[in-house]
Structures are given as C-alpha cells and as structure tokens.
Symmetry: C2
Subunit: 156 residues, 2 copies
Amino acid sequence: MRDEKLSPEELAAWRAVVESSQRLLITIEDDLRKASELTLADYNVLVQLAEAPGRRLRMGDLATKLIFAPSRLTYQIGTMEKRGLVTREPCPDDRRGSEAVLTEAGLAALRAAAPGHLGSVRRHFIEDLDAADLAALTKIFTRIDERLSAARTESR
Amino acid sequence: MRDEKLSPEELAAWRAVVESSQRLLITIEDDLRKASELTLADYNVLVQLAEAPGRRLRMGDLATKLIFAPSRLTYQIGTMEKRGLVTREPCPDDRRGSEAVLTEAGLAALRAAAPGHLGSVRRHFIEDLDAADLAALTKIFTRIDERLSAARTESR
DNA sequence: CGGAAGTTGTTCAGATTTGAAAGAACAGGT
DNA sequence: ACCTGTTCTTTCAAATCTGAACAACTTCCG
C-alpha cells in the first residue's frame, strides 16, 4: 500500500499470468468454435446447468457462477434459447425469478463438444504441467480467489 | 489427444486458473477505473507506448503486444485519440502503416494512474504470493505462452 | 396488516468487439 | 515496368456487453 511499485520479478509474474492466460483462453475458444458451434460462454453455461441438481439454475446463481453481469446473462440465455439449448421457466417459489433449464439438445451439444474441448485444454494447458505445477496453481489461485471474495464482501 | 478427459486435479487447476484470473482482472480494472478515467486496455496501451523507443509503435506491433484484433485496436486508438492520450501519425518508411504516438497528456495520465494500479496489483495478487510462487507462476505461464505461439506458428 | 426497503430479472440505449471485405502499398520475380 | 501474392490498416455491419432505470415481487419491521 505504501510501496506502490513492483519488483522486476513481481512484474514479470503479473504480466506472464495475464498475457498467457489471455492467449490460452483465446486459443481454447478458437478450438471450441471450430469444432462445435459453441462459444466458451455457451459451453460454460451448459456445464453449469448440467452439473446443477435438476439441470436448472436461477438466473442469479448462474450469473454468479459464470461471473456475468445480470443483463449479460439475460442476453446469453436469450441466444441459447433461440438455438434450443436451454429453456426459461418461471421459478416456482419466487415469482420474480426465472430459471434456466438445460434441454436434451443442450445436453447433447455439451456431450458432443466436451471431449474436443477437454482435449484442447489438455493440449494447451495440462500437458505443460507436472503434478507439482498443478497443485501449485490450484493452491495459488484458490487463495487469490478467497481473498478477492473476502475483499468484495468487506467493501459493501 | 486420445484420453479426452481431465482428472479431478487437472480440472480443478484449470477452473481455478480461469475463474480467478478472470475475477482478478475484473477487480483490478474496477480499481483502475474508480481511480483514473482509464480502462485496463487504455492503461496497457499507454504502458506499451511508454516503453517503446520514441514512445511510438506501429499499429500492428501494438496489436500483437496487446493481443488485440486489428480492428479492435483501430477503435481503441480512436477513442484514446479523442481524449488526447495518443496521436496517430503516418509511418515514414511504409505508407500503408500508421503509428500510435504517446502524447504528453498520455504520459501524464499513465504516471498519474500507475501507482494506484500497481498498488492494486500488489494488494490483490502479489501479496498472496511468496518468492517461490512468483517464480513458479512465471515459469509455468512463460512455458505455456511459448508452446502456444509455437503451435500458432505451425498451424499456418 | 401496511409500507419502506431490498431483490430479481429484464429492458433499453449506448459502447465495445468481432469478422469479413476492401483499399492502399510493398516485395519478388519476369 | 508489370504482374502476383502479401501485408497493413481501416471500414462496415452485426454481435455482444455494460450500466442505469424499471417493474414485479419479497421481506422485514413496526
């Protein structure tokens, strides 16, 4: 807070993480789109719904999981609904809310895309890592995330 | 390539990296915007130009450094030009090209924003890491980046 | 109960981003 | 000089994303 500079090592780490995670995502999204008619956002929606009990989630919960602004999710689900991947249903116990529900077609699309996508993740990311790297990354980013959400909670 | 699944450890690492680097960037961009009238994209443009010899860069080079699609950079520089942060000049030796040039106002904006931004990076990212973490991240992401650009070169 | 205060999801307008197409200029051979 | 193929940047329209404002509910107290 006082020392508002970064050492060369700190700066190198920061830039390496930001730049290559960005390039990594772009590459993986390109792979996904070439192989499947799905955006990475589409894919992530499908994953979240597939993992959710009843294959359905409140819009708000889904937005949180995806780190999407509410209006973005409304739009996202709108386009997926047009393509038949999801349905929107009113929420039974809270009449303000609605739920996104995975359709059979959505599940099929996910199943069709998953192997290729996971292969891409393996090829571009996992293959470069040994078990120690994996553990280190998980530990580091999990901790960062915890601190971030703690900070977010405080500032309200 | 054959085994197109990920182990729980692999999946956990992948999700942790993607999610928290995303949240991290959002948080840091929020900080920057609250403190400065600049987007993270604006800031990165300013940094690249400030570090470049003559404080100027060809559009294409800048686009590569920022991982921006060409048309995106055109737009980006357009908005920054309106705000007086950069200028556009025709490239002397190649009449197809143009250069983005940092203005005094742009440099001043960068200098004004940098301490706060770097403080934010330290607070949300660096502070959670010890020296070993830093070294591990740099090593890992540098290697990933090398592989990615190698793969990109091949596929053309 | 009654109503202030908070939630939830959508809508709308405007900003940004993408991708394809085009225009201009370079480079290499012929 | 003259093609032919490339590269560089911009333009344009369409797709996506953001943030503020809103309508419909819910909750919480008094």
